[in-house]
Symmetry: C2
Subunit: 387 residues, 2 copies
C-alpha cells in the first residue's frame, strides 16, 4: 500500500509544478517555467509536450521580446477539465462548477429541508450535478468535492456526526455519492475545503494560513506548510471550542467559556463589536500557536458584518501580537466570497489530480518491527499506485 518514490512520482510532480505555475498566469513560456520550477528548459519542453498531449495546455502564439528567436507561448486550457463542488450546510446546498484554473463558472443554491436524510442529500446532489455538468463536455469532469460540517472523517469519507443533523452518524457519504453520481467524490470538512480553495487561488506565498468560518458554529480550516492540515483523525479545526474564559457559560461541548458560545451570545444580542472582539481573541491565540501568515474570515454569519470583523481582528493582530512587525499576518475575507466552501471543494478535487502531490509517504506501519521478519510470504510484487 505504500507509495515509493519512483519515476512516476517524478513525472507527476513536475507535471503538477508546471500546471501550478500555468494556472496563475494567463500565458507562459519555457524560460519562465524553467526558472520558476528549477527544471532545465529542455525538461520543461518535455513536460509541456505531455500536457499538450493531455489537452491541459495549448500553444498560444509566440512572443517577440527583442533580439533573438521569439519564445513559444503556451496557456492553460481552462475548459479542459472541470470539477463540481458542493457546500452542504445545515439548511442550504450550494453547488458550483469550476474550471481548471479555479474560475467559478456557475453557481446554484437551493434549500435543504430540516434534518435532511442522506438519501435526500444524494437526490439534491444528483440533480445539481445534472444541471451543472450539462454545461461541460462529458469526460472532462474530474469529480465532485463535498464540503460539509463535521465532525467527519476525510480519509475514510465518512460523516461521523454532522453537527445538529439527526440522520448523520457514521454515514459513508463519499462511497454513496460516488456510486450514485458515477463520479469520483471527495468528502471534506467545510472549512478544510474552503482553505484548499483559497490556497489554490492565492498561490505559493500562501503557505501557512487559517480560514475562520463563522456559520452555525465556528471552525478553522488550516493550511500549514503548503498543504491542508487535517490532523491525526482528520478532525482538526474545531476552533470554536477553544476555551477563552475558564469560568464562562457552559457550551454544548461540555466545557465552559468556549469561543463559540461567547461569540454567538454576543452576536445573538446584536453586539457585533463584542462578537468580533471575541473572535479576535481566538485568532490571536491561533497566531501565537501556529504563526500563520494569512487569516481568512468567512462564513454566512460573519460576512454580513465583514467590515467590523476585519477591523477588530486586524487591530488585535497588530496590537496584541508581540513583535507584530516581524510576525505580520494578513487578514482578509475570502477571494471567493460566499462560494468559498463549494468552490474550495471543487478545487480540492482538481488539486487531487492536478495539484502537487504531498510527497511519497514515509514507510508506514506496514512493518512495526523489522527485526522479526515476515511470517507470511506476502506478495513481493507491490502494486503500483496507478495514476
Amino acid at each position: 500500500m505504500v507509495k515509493p518514490a519512483d519515476l512516476d512520482f517524478l513525472r507527476d510532480y513536475n507535471d503538477a509544478s508546471v500546471v501550478a505555475v500555468a494556472r496563475r498566469a494567463r500565458v507562459f513560456d519555457r524560460a519562465t517555467i524553467a526558472s520558476a520550477t528549477g527544471l532545465t528548459p529542455q525538461a520543461v519542453s518535455k513536460v509541456v509536450a505531455r500536457l499538450v498531449a493531455a489537452g491541459l495546455v495549448e500553444p498560444d502564439g509566440v512572443r517577440r521580446q527583442g533580439v533573438g528567436k521569439p519564445a513559444s507561448v503556451y496557456r492553460l486550457v481552462p475548459n479542459s477539465r472541470y470539477a463540481i463542488g458542493a457546500h452542504v450546510a445545515r439548511r442550504t446546498l450550494r453547488m458550483v462548477l469550476s474550471d481548471l484554473t479555479g474560475q467559478v463558472l456557475n453557481t446554484i443554491v437551493g434549500p435543504l429541508p430540516p434534518d435532511f436524510t442522506p438519501e435526500r442529500l444524494l437526490d439534491e446532489l444528483a440533480a445539481g450535478v445534472g444541471r451543472l455538468a450539462g454545461e461541460c463536455r462529458a469526460g472532462r469532469l474530474v469529480g465532485v468535492g463535498i464540503g460539509m460540517v463535521g465532525p467527519l472523517d476525510h480519509a475514510q469519507g465518512v460523516v461521523r456526526d454532522a453537527h445538529r443533523l439527526r440522520h448523520w452518524h457514521d454515514v459513508p457519504l463519499r462511497e454513496m455519492a460516488a456510486e450514485r453520481l458515477g463520479l469520483p467524490v471527495m468528502l471534506d470538512k467545510d472549512v478544510a475545503a474552503g482553505v484548499v480553495g483559497e490556497a489554490w487561488l492565492r498561490g505559493p506565498h500562501f503557505r501557512d494560513a487559517a480560514l475562520i468560518m463563522v456559520e452555525s458554529g465556528i471552525g478553522a480550516g488550516l493550511w500549514l506548510g503548503g498543504s491542508a492540515y487535517r490532523g491525526a483523525h482528520t478532525n482538526a479545526g474545531e476552533f470554536g471550542h477553544m476555551v477563552v474564559q475558564t469560568d464562562g457559560p457552559p457550551c454544548v461541548c461540555g466545557r465552559r467559556g468556549c469561543l463559540e458560545t461567547l461569540h454567538d451570545r454576543a452576536l445573538a444580542r446584536g453586539d457585533v463589536g463584542t462578537a468580533a472582539r471575541v473572535l479576535a481573541v481566538g485568532v490571536v491565540n491561533l497566531l501565537q500557536t501556529l504563526d500563520v501568515g494569512h487569516v481568512v474570515l468567512a462564513g454566512a454569519d460573519l460576512l454580513p458584518h465583514a467590515a467590523a470583523y476585519l477591523e477588530a481582528v486586524r487591530t488585535a493582530v497588530r496590537t496584541e501580537v508581540p513583535r507584530a512587525d516581524w510576525l505580520a499576518a494578513e487578514v482578509t475575507t475570502p477571494a471567493l466570497g460566499v462560494d468559498v466552501i463549494a468552490a474550495g471543494a471543487a478545487m480540492g478535487m482538481l488539486n487531487e489530480r492536478y495539484g502537487l502531490p504531498t510527497g511519497p509517504r514515509p514507510a508506514e506501519a506496514a512493518k512495526e518491527r523489522a527485526e522479526e521478519p515476515a511470517e507470511e510470504p506476502g506478495d513481493p510484487a507491490a502494486a503500483r499506485a496507478g495514476g
Copy 2:
C-alpha cells in the same frame, strides 16, 4: 534556488526511507525493507549497496528461517555518524553526543552566567564540542544542533529576542557558531528541536504531535503531518500566550489571562493541581484545533511533578474532548527525559542529512507573474542541490 524533482531527489528519498526503517530495527533484511517502503527487493539491494559504501550500513550475517536460501541481514552502524546537540536554557547549557540511531552517548551539563553574552555562549559551546567530539572519530560528526528559547528565526538562523536574555537581539547565532566550531550548525527553538527528537525516536506513527514544554514559560513544539511545523515566520509554538481567561491577570505579553500567567501563578504558590489543570485546558484547546494524536509533556518545571500533570491532562483529554473515543490522544512524558531538547537538536541535525526530505519545494516566489517574462537572462544552469 528552487529544488526540482530530479533523480537525485528520488535517490536521496529512497536512501532516507531505508535508513529510517533501519534506524528503528536492530537488524533488517531485504524483504522487510521492501514491504515497508514499497520498493522492489532489487531496488532495496541497490539502495543498501549505496548505504554500505557510505558506511552507514553493514552486513550482519544471514538468517535461516526454514526452507530456502537464507536472507542477508544488515544493520545500521550506529557509530558511523554522530551529531552534537545543545540545549541553551536561561541558566544552563546541556549538551549531548548522539549517534546515528538517536542514542545519547554522553551528556554534559553546565551553568550559564546570568545574562550571558553570545561570545560567552560560543566559548561554552566550543568547550563542550571539544569534550564530546573527542569521543568520536573526526569526519563522522555531522554537525551541531542548537535548541534555544525564542523568539528566533530558524530559517535565517538568527535569534530575534531570546526571552529574558538581555544580549540576544537579532544575533546570527547559526553563522557565528558554524564559524567558531568549524561544523554545520542548525538553530531551532527549543520546543521545535524537542519534538523533532521525539518524532525521530517514535517512528512513523508519530505523525501529528505537540511537545508541551514548561520551563520558564510555556511553549509547544509542533510536529504536524510527519514533519516539524514552524510557521510562516518560524515562530510557531508560543502556546503559553493563549488567552484562556479574557478578564484574567495581565501577562508580560500585554494581554490578559494567558495560560502561562495563570499556570505560573498557581505553580508559584505550590498549587500543582491547579497548575496542571490550567495546562490541561490549553492542551484540550490545542487538541480541538489541531487534532494531534500525541501530546508530550516536558520541561524542567513540569517533570518534577510529571505524575500530577499527566493525570490532569489525561483526564481532561478523556473527558473534555467530544467523541474522545474516536479522537484519542496519547499523553506521555518525553522518551528522552531531561535530554529531550539537546538530543532533539542533535537528531534535527541528523534528520537534516539522513532523514526523509520534506519533498521538493513547489515553485517559489522566483516568479511572481509568469506573464511578463524574465527581464534579466538569469543563469539557466540551475545549481544542483549537492548531497
